[in-house]
Amino acid sequence: MDNDETDLFPGWQSGDASAFSALVRRWQGPMARFLFHLVGEREVVQDLCQEVFLRAFLAAPRYREKGELSAWLYRIALNVARDRTRRRRLIVRSMANCDIPSDVSEPGVHCEQQETSDLVGQAIAELPEPLRIVLILRHYEGVNFEKMARLLGTPASTLKSRFAAALGRLRQRLRLFAPDNEESKK
């Protein structure tokens, strides 16, 4: 756990609004990233993030400090994402849905990058949940397998296998959309 979080800990747990706001500022980025890759929908991330911190605030008095604040928050985010998936089936984003900001000088290049990003995001969202979670935590959040094992209650060796399987599936799925890769193989 970061020093900042240790300092904030007594405050935010006892309902200190400023301490909790600092915690939100520290964790809203990682939570947004985690939720986005988990649900694959850009539009709902703000609401889901809000829900994560609301649940954390309400559950704060029950939180027992063991230096696993990040694991606790990821677990809440995972539950929020699962609840949402239960409520509504995952919507596969349309490739045609490409927003071009007005200040972009090269809209074609931007759109192409956005398209590739969307395809990769879609491929991640289509992975089975156990593989998807491991991939996101390892690649995007940089969580090591030991910490992940504590977070998910699954042996680290199993998580390692899942990670390798997730990379394998993504490679198969994205091979068509990686022209550089195809060229390098030729």
Binding site: V24, F36, V45, Q50, F57, R171, L174
Partner: protein, 214 residues
Amino acid sequence: MNCTHVRGRLSDLLYEELSSGEIEQVKEHLTQCPACKSEYDSLQDLRRMLDGVRAPTVSVNTPGMFRQALEIHSRRARRWRRAAVALAGLAATVLAVILFRLEIRAGSNQVVIRWGSSTSGIETVTNPKSEPSEHHTAEASYVPASEAELQPLRGLIHALDASMDQLSREVENRDQRQQHNIVRLQEQVTQLRVMFQRQMATYLADSSKKGENR
């Protein structure tokens, strides 16, 4: 290291999870094996593609969240209050049914509410379905208690009476014992006073004799 061994470690190499010795061994294999090198390159490409996915930036509305939390708290409190009131009402109803031997019966076009025993107490009969002209408003009748019902009360009164008698007898006995003790104490005091007077007289007599001798 053979190809199978190396391929199992390519993702570890990519995410820097190998020891320095293992890194050397795997990298050496990659320089000699084009197939494994191609596999590793494709993994590197995949990693770059994954890095290219941009997550949206969010800004959590903390004041809004605190308001929401407050609403949830007050909703929960209201729910608890309602539950407590409902529970208290239920308990009071159960208590009333037990204490007053309440009986509610819905019969043919009639709702009968009765409390007390079947032969005594007040009975209310309403007929909600009948025409207004035939409507029976609250009808009450009083039937005096029977001898059999009064019997337990009489028994109770007799028992109370008997225990009062016993209590007063005990108090009387205790008073007598105390009076006897007081009389005994008075006798002892009288005896002590007599003894004291005798000893004083003896002492005075001895003292006067000694004075005369001197």
